[in-house]
């Protein structure tokens, strides 16, 4: 019987802490706090908001938030320039080469404030929570190992192998030739 007792705990460990919790509503002060990223002067990298760290970096680990991020990615036309990570007029994510780094703060700032090369600022259209959800999802597209919490494919025509085979090209640590 001992193993029967041990098993639930093993599953607890497997499940992580709050990977499945669905926080459907952020308190406005928390959301305001989540907006306070400190960015390096060159616009690359920086410190995430204190609230973000205190919450346990939910937007990188929480399955529901990642999934919401994926929906937003489609809904707000990210596919128009970045396709499903393969890139088009915008840079690719799949190759794992990130012009501003793969750090969530950089991604957050890119989405919120836009970038000079043609990336528009989405801060006007999206709430802070949504930007973080998008950040979390975008980060998984370029990750070298798939997160178990990451959402899987969409019910639509597929332009690339399934998510759990991402990244499609491994080891592209050189900038893609243009």
């Amino acid at each position: 019987m001992r193993l029967v007792v041990v098993m639930p705990f093993a599953m607890l460990a497997l499940a992580g802490c709050q990977r499945e919790e669905r926080s459907l509503r952020l308190d406005p002060p928390v959301e305001a706090g989540l907006d306070e990223v400190r960015v390096m002067s060159n616009g690359i990298g920086g410190a995430p908001p204190k609230v973000y760290v205190a919450l346990g970096r939910p937007y990188e680990n929480n399955a529901f938030d990642l999934d919401q991020g994926k929906r937003l990615y489609d809904w707000f036309g990210c596919t128009g320039c970045h396709a499903h990570g393969g890139g088009n007029t915008g840079p690719a994510f799949l190759d794992g080469w990130w012009q501003y780094g793969a750090d969530p703060v950089s991604i957050f700032v890119s989405i919120r404030d836009g970038r000079t090369a043609g990336m528009p600022a989405f801060g006007r259209y999206l709430t802070t929570e949504q930007i973080w959800q998008l950040t979390g999802y975008v980060q998984t597209i370029g990750a070298y190992s798939a997160k178990t919490a990451a959402p899987s494919r969409n019910d639509e025509m597929q332009s690339r192998p399934s998510e759990n085979r991402a990244p499609a090209t491994l080891g592209a640590l050189q900038p893609p030739s243009r």
Partner: protein, 637 residues
């Protein structure tokens, strides 16, 4: 083994009863200690574990049902948030279907079938142990996931695309699908054991026309399981593949189809109802015959009705899909077949009524449950006829009318007989009687509480309340009926609580049970209560379908089995003529370890497809160790 006198003849021929009992006990007893407990292959010990575990899940599922009723008691209640509510009703449904109803019926069969057909153990006893050890982690998986806010929230039917990769975030739907795998493996294993046990291990003389009706019902049920459960295995596996490795079975944009899921699910899901109901039919036939004090009327029609139900069960899955927009011709066919199943069910009811009419009923608690069963189940069957009509179904489908209908069928049709069966066989299993006084209260409370709770739901459905809504507005006029239903649910809950109290109390302080307290006719009552580890000192020989009524004083038995190895008798398929003395395996820890290895593989495969590869290595190792001959006398041929 030390008490065995090696020099003497290892046969039981000529041994007096006390010496024989001592030898058999040494041979068949499950060893003490934790290893012994985990190694046991005694069908009675495993059956008891199964029953207790299943009733524990019933209790848990019942708590969820009460939570649902509290939430719905008034409009716009905030007792359960929508996310939690969805998990609650999904876990309630999945738990009741997969962790309670099917296992508890199989559990009773595991315990009773070998006794009723007069053999010493079930066929493939180690597989039997394995099936329990794989069922338990399946249940734990579901409930631990629920506790971790990771419980499935897509309904017990898990329709795609809601449960698919795009809309089912996280691992909740995977938990559901893998829980299915656990319980189906266990159910399939038991089904195979039962088929072989019933085919090959019946007491000499128990030809096909003398098999007790409960055993017949379990035989048909086992075949239903074998033919229907692969469908849900295929379905849940393809769902996991869709979610984990990006296959496209259910993705309409890439050639998949959403309705394919529903076809697969209901190809299993409808027979599932009969997998739960047919064993209950067997229980009712047994109880009716015993308490009407006469053989069951219409043995042959009852057996044929079981077969007819089993066959028709595969021809009506589409009646769960009448509003998806299928071609008219198909719908007409499925209407006709769904209606037709009322005929065999009618025959069963009439045969029971005829038995009661002609018999001399003794009003003990089990019979009270059968009476409650007939009154409620007929309502469920008749509303079943209503929803079988396509046009009618378009109004009541997915409303509380259907909730009422299937609770009448499953609770009225299966749980009532099951409670009756508990009161009936408890003395045999535990060795003590349950309280007749409390039993009457339980029967009354459950019957009244159930009908007050579920009958108004028919009306709720007709006045427009859909299923699976976590709340409703005050302007909908559903509030008062819902409050009434919720209050009635408390009566039902009180009935079940009293049942659990009675069952637990009687185990310690019930009146000790004699061998055959009900003066019943079947073989399980021909041995002590509870039965010894070897079931019967000598294998009974049967010449009637009611052997203990045929010869109430003496039991004809067979002699000549060995006493130095676990031995039982194989008989021929139809006539049950003795064919061979076959050995029955000893206790082994390997089924338990194999189940642990399987559990590790199945849980890990939710997170990585590679787990199937590396996870199968320990499984293979444990299985080889399980089957590798140990050189015991059982291995001799």
């Amino acid at each position: 083994m030390s008490t065995l006198d090696i020099s003497s003849d290892p046969r039981d021929t000529g041994l007096d009863e006390r010496a024989l009992a001592r030898r058999l006990a040494d041979l068949w007893q499950t060893p003490r200690g934790i290893i012994g407990t985990l190694s046991s292959v005694d069908h009675k010990i495993i059956g008891r574990r199964y029953i207790v575990t299943a009733f524990f899940f019933l209790l848990l599922g019942g708590v969820l049902a009460l939570a649902i009723r509290i939430q719905l008691a008034k409009p716009e209640n905030r007792f359960l948030a929508p996310d939690l509510y969805n998990q609650v009703f999904t876990v309630h449904g999945a738990n009741m279907m997969f962790l309670f109803a099917v296992p508890v019926m199989e559990a009773f069969a595991v315990y009773l079938v070998p006794l009723m057909i007069g053999t010493r153990n079930i066929a493939f006893p180690r597989l039997n142990a394995f099936s329990y050890w794989i069922y338990l982690p399946g249940g734990i998986t579901l409930w631990v996931a629920f506790a971790l806010d990771m419980g499935p929230d897509v309904g017990w039917f898990a329709y795609v695309p809601l449960s698919g990769p795009q809309y089912g975030a996280g691992k909740r739907a995977d938990i559901w699908a893998q829980m299915i795998t656990f319980t189906e493996v266990s159910a399939l294993a038991v089904a195979v054991e039962l088929v072989v046990t019933i085919f090959k291990q019946r007491a000499p003389g128990m030809s096909l026309d003398k098999i007790p009706l409960f055993v017949w019902s379990m035989l048909v049920t086992s075949f239903l399981i074998i033919m229907a459960m692969p469908a849900i295995m295929v379905a849940s596996t393809t769902l996991i593949l869709d979610r984990l490795v990006g296959t496209h079975f259910y993705n309409p944009a890439e050639g998949g189809d959403v309705l394919l899921w529903q076809h697969l699910f209901w190809f299993f899901g409808h027979p599932e109802v009969y997998i739960i109901f047919l064993p209950a039919v067997g229980m009712v036939s047994t109880i009716v015959s015993t308490f009407a004090r006469r053989p069951i009327f219409g043995y042959l029609p009852l057996v044929l009705a079981l077969f007819a139900t089993g066959i028709l069960a595969f021809g009506l899955w589409v009646h769960h899909m009448f509003v998806v927009g299928l071609p008219r011709v198909g719908e007409s066919f499925f209407t006709a077949s769904s209606m037709a199943i009322a005929v065999p069910n009618g025959i069963q009811i009439f045969c029971w009524l005829a038995t009661l009419w002609d018999g001399r009923p003794v009003f003990k608690t089990p019979l009270l449950f059968v009476i409650a069963f007939i009154i409620t189940f007929v309502i469920g069957g008749l509303t079943g006829v209503m929803v079988a009509s396509v046009p009618l179904d378009t109004q009541v489908h997915d409303t509380y009318f259907v909730v009422a209908h299937f609770h009448y069928v499953l609770v009225g049709g299966a749980v009532f007989p099951l409670l009756g069966a508990v009161y009936y066989w408890y003395p045999k299993i535990i060795g003590r009687m349950m309280s007749e006084r409390l039993g009457r209260w339980v029967a009354g409370l459950v019957f009244v509480g159930f009908n007050l709770t579920f009958f108004p739901m028919h009306i709720l459905g007709l006045i427009g309340m859909p299923r699976r809504v976590y709340t409703y507005g005050p302007e909908m006029n559903w509030g008062s009926i819902n409050l009434f239903v919720s209050l009635s649910a408390a009566i039902l809950a009180a009935g079940f609580l009293l049942f659990f109290v009675d069952a637990i109390r009687s185990a310690f302080s019930g009146e000790p049970a004699p061998e055959n307290p009900w003066n019943a006719p079947t073989l399980e009552w021909a041995t002590s209560s509870p039965p010894p580890s070897y079931n019967f000192e000598r294998i009974p020989v049967v010449s009637s379908s009611d052997p203990l009524w045929e010869t109430p004083e003496t039991l004809p038995v067979a002699t000549g089995l060995r006493t130095d190895r676990r031995e039982l008798l194989l008989t021929s398929l139809s006539e049950a003529n003795p064919q061979a003395r076959e050995s029955s395996p000893r206790d082994s820890i390997w089924p338990f370890l194999a189940a642990i290895a399987t559990t590790v593989m199945l849980i890990s495969s939710i997170f990585s497809a590679w787990a199937v590869v590396w996870g199968s290595v320990p499984i293979a190792v444990t299985l080889i160790a399980w089957f590798w001959p140990k050189g015991t006398p059982e291995d001799a041929a």
